[in-house]
Symmetry: C2
Subunit: 350 residues, 2 copies
C-alpha cells in the first residue's frame, strides 16, 4: 500500500504565525483560523486556496432493501442517479452553485444501463441481502475499492484541492449501521439505528432487528474464522458493506495517499471514514468532518473518532449535500487568512 | 412608531408545499428548508433570492474604557475604522467576498475626523464612563437611534434583502454585559461577563466588578425614578448603552418596519436585538441569529430569547463577521429551494 502523504509543518507554522499578526484579537476567528492553518498544512502553501472541489457520488443497490428497511423503494436509487445527472438533485444544485466538479459513479445500481454522465464501474448488480449472506465476493470488494481509488485519481489529475465523497443507495444506512456497530463494539443495534430517509418508530424498531440479525451472522462467522487486524476490517466490509461504501473507503484511502484532503459528509460516509481509519490511522489527519447529521448513529461515530463536525444543520440527505454546504465556510476562512491586513500594515495598535 | 411589517403567510405556505415536493426525503435538508421558507415569508416571494446584503458597522468609543476593561487601548476603535475603510479588516474581506454593501458609520469615535468612506452621524465624542455617570443625554440617545434608522433606510433604498448590523468600540462588551444583566434580571455580573477581546481570568474578574458597579448605579436610579415599560428600556440604554449599541437598536427596529430581515451577529448585537425586542416583541420574527460566539453571555441571551443560532464557530470578533459568514448558508438554502427538481419533474418514486 502506498504511504499516506505528509502534512507540511513549515507552511502550517507560517500560517499560524500569520494568523497572530492579522488585525483581530488572537483566536477571535475561532474555527475559521483553524481551517486556514489546516489547509496551509495540507497544501504546503502559506496562502492556501480552494477553488477546485471534486465531488464523487457512488451509487449502488442493496439486497437488504427487500427486508423493508427504507421508506423508499429500491428503484429510487437508479431514479436518483438520473436526477443527479440531469441537475435536479440537491447535490447537483450545490455543485453547480459552487462550480465544483460532480461525477456520478455506478458501482452496482440494480439493472442500471449505461448512461451518458454516469461513470460505469460496477462491482456487481446490487449487493446481496446481508441478513442471509455476505454482501459481496472478495473480487467484488476489490473492484469497488478500485472504483473509489480511481475517483481519487481523477480528482488528483484535475488538481482538486478537496475531495468530497457522497453516496446513494436505498437501504444503505442499514449497512452503515451494521459496520458502525461492529467497529464501535456496540452490541445493541438499537443504539445506532436511525430513521434513515424517514422511518417511523415501528420502522426503526424493525430496522434495528434487521441490523441485529446482520451482526449476529457477522459475529458467528468471525468467531469461526478469527480474522485479525486489517483483514478483519476488510472482511467486515465484504460481509456487510455496500459497493458504494466500499468505494468510499477506497477513495478516502487513495486521497490521503495523493495528499488531497477529504471533506466527509454524513452518517454513511463517516462510517466509511471510520473503516478507512481502522485500516490506517494515518488517514485521519487528511479528513475534515463537515456536519453532524440527524441520523442517530452519526454523533456516536464522530465522538468515537474524537472529531468535531463543523456544523449541525439537522440534515439527513446524504449524496454529499452536508459536505457541499460547508465549502463556502472554508473559502471564507481562506479569504480572511490571505486578504486581511496585519496590525503593521493597517497601523493598528496591538 | 411605525408598525412592524407583516410576514407573507401565502408565500410561506407555498414554500412549505414546494419543499415537500422536492426530490429528497421530507425534512432531510433540515435548517436549509426552514431558512428557505422563512425567506419566502419575508420576501413575499415563492422563490426568494439573496443577492443584495447590506452591512452597516456602527463605531463609537466608550468612556468606561478608562476602567481598564479591555486588552486593547481606546485608540484602536478609530484605527479599526480606518482598517474597515481600507479593506483590511475581517468584515471588509468578507463583504468583498460576498459582494455585499459595507458602510461604516461613526456614531461617536473619540476625536475621529471626517474621512472619505465613513458616514458621519456622531451622537457625541465617545460616551461617558458609565461607572460614574449616564452614558449619554436624551438628545444623544435620539441621535444615535436616528443614525441606526437611517442605515436601515439606506438598505431599503438599495433594495437590500438582508440587513446586517455590526459594531466596533473598545470596551463595548462591558456596556453590552450591563444591558444584558439588567434585561435578563441577572444580579451577579460574573454570570454574563466574558473575555471580550481576550482578557485573562484576572481581567475578567475586574471587568465583572466594573459591570457590577454599573448595575448598582442603574438599580439605584431605577429605584428612585421608577421608569416603566418602553421608557425603562430606553432609560437603561441611555444610562449604560454605547452609541453604536443604540444605533443598532434603531437599525433593527426600522428594518423590521421596512420589512428587511435582520441577521444578528454576536454578543453585542444580540444584546441590541434583545433591547429592540423588549421595546417591541413583533420585531423578533424579523430576526435571524447567525452564530453563538465564544463570549460567555451570548448563549444566555439566545436561550432567554428562545432562539437558536445557525452556527457555532467559536468566534468572538464582532464587526458583523459572524453574521457575514452565514450569508452563503442562506444562499445555498435558497438555491436548493428554487432549483431542485420535484419528484414529478424528475420522475422519482415518492
Amino acid at each position: 500500500m502506498d504511504a499516506v502523504a505528509s502534512l507540511n509543518k513549515v507552511t502550517q507554522k507560517n500560517a499560524e504565525q500569520r494568523q497572530a499578526t492579522l488585525t483581530k484579537p488572537a483566536g477571535s476567528l475561532g474555527v475559521l483560523e483553524r481551517l486556514a492553518i489546516q489547509f496551509a498544512a495540507w497544501q504546503g502553501n502559506d496562502q492556501p486556496q480552494l477553488d477546485k472541489v471534486h465531488i464523487s457520488i457512488f451509487a449502488a443497490d442493496h439486497g437488504v432493501a427487500e427486508e423493508g428497511v427504507s421508506v423508499f423503494p429500491q428503484v429510487v436509487t437508479g431514479e436518483m442517479v438520473k436526477n443527479f445527472v440531469r441537475g435536479g438533485a440537491a447535490i447537483s444544485v450545490l455543485a453547480q452553485h459552487h462550480q465544483a466538479t460532480l461525477e456520478i459513479i455506478d458501482v452496482g445500481v440494480k439493472d442500471f444501463p449505461e448512461m451518458e454522465g454516469v461513470i460505469r464501474a460496477r462491482a456487481g448488480n446490487a449487493s446481496n441481502n446481508i441478513v442471509e449472506e455476505d454482501a459481496m465476493t472478495e473480487a467484488q470488494l476489490q473492484l469497488a475499492l478500485e472504483a473509489g481509488r480511481e475517483a481519487a485519481e481523477r480528482a488528483n489529475v484535475s488538481n482538486a484541492q478537496l475531495f468530497i465523497g457522497g453516496e446513494m443507495g436505498i437501504a444503505n444506512t442499514t449497512s452503515a449501521t451494521a459496520i458502525a456497530c461492529a467497529l464501535l463494539g456496540v452490541s445493541d443495534a438499537a443504539e445506532l439505528t436511525g430513521a434513515g430517509t424517514g422511518l417511523d418508530k415501528v420502522g426503526i424498531k424493525h430496522k434495528s432487528a434487521i441490523v441485529g440479525a446482520i451482526l449476529d451472522r457477522y459475529k458467528k462467522e468471525l468467531a469461526q474464522q478469527g480474522f485479525e487486524g486489517d483483514n478483519q476490517v476488510l472482511h467486515l466490509l465484504r460481509m456487510v458493506g455496500g459497493f458504494e461504501i466500499v468505494a468510499l473507503v477506497g477513495a478516502y484511502m487513495r486521497s490521503a495517499q495523493l495528499g488531497i484532503p477529504v471533506l466527509v459528509d454524513g452518517f454513511i460516509t463517516t462510517a466509511a471514514a471510520l473503516v478507512a481509519i481502522k485500516i490506517n490511522e494515518k488517514i485521519k489527519p487528511w479528513m475534515l468532518f463537515s456536519h453532524c447529521s440527524a441520523e442517530s448513529g452519526h454523533a456516536k461515530i464522530l465522538s468515537t473518532l474524537d472529531v468535531k463536525s463543523l456544523v449541525d444543520f439537522d440534515m439527513r440527505l446524504g449524496e454529499a449535500s452536508g459536505a457541499a454546504v460547508v465549502i463556502p465556510l472554508i473559502q471564507q476562512a481562506l479569504a480572511l487568512h490571505n486578504n486581511m491586513a496585519t496590525f503593521a500594515e493597517a497601523e493598528v495598535s496591538k
